[in-house]
């Protein structure tokens, strides 16, 4: 499925749009990390929690559960959410 990458992570993927597979958001992130080593730890901490300023959208719906199921025609958005100087 299509995955849209935010600018802080493009140093890993070199492009804004990539393809990855997985039956859940968690599996998708594992596949992304297989393709782009190190990426997952920058967005998911060692306890398996989403990091504070990363948000995940599936199509237009924000999801907070890594077990959220995915379909092959979904588009997953990794979004940065940070304000301040």
């Amino acid at each position: 499925m299509k995955v849209m990458i935010p600018s802080p992570l493009i140093s890993y993927t070199k492009t804004q749009e990539v393809k990855a597979a997985g039956a859940t958001l968690a599996e998708l992130l594992i596949d992304l990390d297989r393709q782009y080593p190190g990426l997952r730890f920058r967005v998911i901490d060692e306890q398996g929690q989403m990091r504070a300023h990363m948000r995940f959208f599936i199509n237009r719906e924000q999801v907070f559960n890594l077990a959220h199921p995915l379909r092959s025609n979904d588009t997953v958005y990794l979004v940065q959410a940070l304000s301040g100087g």
Binding site: F41, Q47, R51
Partner: protein
């Protein structure tokens, strides 16, 4: 302000011809500046008068520490994170031309489902291990944790005896007990005589020693004072800011603490508050502690205002370094070249250091983005850079 060039300074043929004897090229000091928005390297000429700036590296990334490996004189490790992303470690083996990310940055052990585990927010401190342990490093994190790498910083293993130990977790307190941007594991020190003899300090939780390579640690807090009304016997109330071991006498340590300046002479386990001898108007509160590379009687501090609400700025807006040349019996103010008033500087615990030259060069960076140095052990100060982001750490090293 000292001259800063963008190109390296080169010797002319004529200068070389007139040299009377064959000399090896002098090693050049490089000052490694880690900031809230990236890292910079300032390369000094042989006289440390002209500084060539190199950077930014990691523009926009939060760099808590940038350290050159003294065992090879070329490998750099950078502790990084960004506003959005989790923490990481980057390594360069070509003096910063290229960087490679750690495959496994410092991370706490995963806890069983249903329990609340800790996650590393950032790596705060990096220390190369002993000279006989090439490629090995220690890292201290926030929240407080101790880690070690044996492969040059590519993969990091946690010290469970600290990070998961119930007693140590109690002494560490919670995030609410810590410094504003998180409690720090810092001042990881390796005895140059013995790689198994280690010290570390916690911004909340005291100073600790291991004599078995980190399998077991013991607190060393006797003599250290705590905020009034609290029990100094409780390790969690001790707030060391920076601890340094004297290379010329590894049995001597100096400490800048939340509650004063101290000296410890081993095998004693009792710290002596040498900051009582500082001028009363200035006090003995501050963050960094710097020791002389060859004279254990000499140390420098950068006092800050620790009264009322703890402004943590230069007392009365008049910045100064203070030096002792006799182990803390007397202190001398060193401010020649610094602003005489209205300079409300803050210098963080990692942001002041010394090189190993003779006379010793001293360096510090302010949270307002100024980098200052002295070529003569503090007698005269000059600003070598302004307008940098908030400076978190300053290290001086020599490239090979």
């Amino acid at each position: 302000m000292a001259r800063v060039t963008k190109k390296p300074v080169t010797r002319t043929r004529r200068q070389t011809v007139h040299t009377k004897k064959i000399q090896r090229p002098a090693r050049r000091v490089v000052v490694l500046v880690a900031t809230r928005k990236g890292a910079w390297l300032f390369h000094g000429d042989a006289a440390r008068k002209v500084w060539r700036v190199n950077g930014p590296h990691f523009l926009g990334h939060i760099i808590n520490h940038l350290v050159l490996d003294p065992r090879d004189g070329r490998t750099l490790l950078a502790a990084t994170k960004s506003g959005h992303l989790g923490p990481s470690i980057f390594r360069s083996t070509d003096r910063g031309r290229t960087w490679k990310e750690a495959a496994q940055p410092p991370a706490f052990a995963k806890v069983p489902e249903g329990e609340k585990g800790r996650a590393v927010d950032h790596t705060f401190w990096l220390t190369p291990c002993h000279a006989n342990e090439p490629n090995a490093w220690y890292a201290g994190t926030s929240p407080q944790g101790l880690f070690r790498s044996d492969d040059g910083g590519d993969t990091w293993a946690p010290f469970s005896c600290i990070n998961d130990d119930p007693q140590y977790r109690e002494w560490m307190g919670s995030v609410q007990d810590g410094t504003p941007d998180g409690p720090k594991m810092h001042s990881i020190i390796v005895d140059p005589r013995d790689p198994a003899h280690l010290y570390f300090a916690m911004s909340g939780g005291g100073v600790h020693e291991s004599v078995d390579g980190g399998q077991h640690f013991t607190p060393i807090v006797k003599g250290m004072e705590v905020v009034g009304g609290f029990d100094p016997a409780n390790i969690t109330f001790h707030d060391p800011h920076c601890v340094r071991l004297c290379p010329s006498n590894p049995d001597r340590l100096y400490q800048q603490n939340h509650c004063g300046i101290y000296r410890l002479d081993r095998p004693s386990i009792e710290w002596v508050r040498i900051g009582r001898n500082m001028p009363k108007r200035v006090g003995d509160i501050g963050f960094p502690m710097v020791v002389h590379p060859r004279d254990a009687e000499t140390a420098w501090v950068f006092p800050m205002d620790g009264q009322s609400v703890w402004p943590r700025t230069s007392p009365e807006g008049k910045p100064a370094v203070f030096v002792t040349r006799n182990g803390g019996k007397r202190w001398q103010r060193l401010d020649n070249g610094m602003p005489e008033s209205q300079a409300w500087w803050t210098v963080k615990r990692q942001a002041m250091t010394a090189d190993a030259r003779d006379p010793v060069g001293l360096y510090f960076g302010t949270t307002s983005g100024e980098l200052w140095m002295s070529r003569d052990e503090g007698q005269r100060w000059i600003c070598i850079a302004r307008n940098l982001p908030e400076i978190y750490a300053v290290e001086a090293a020599e490239l090979r």
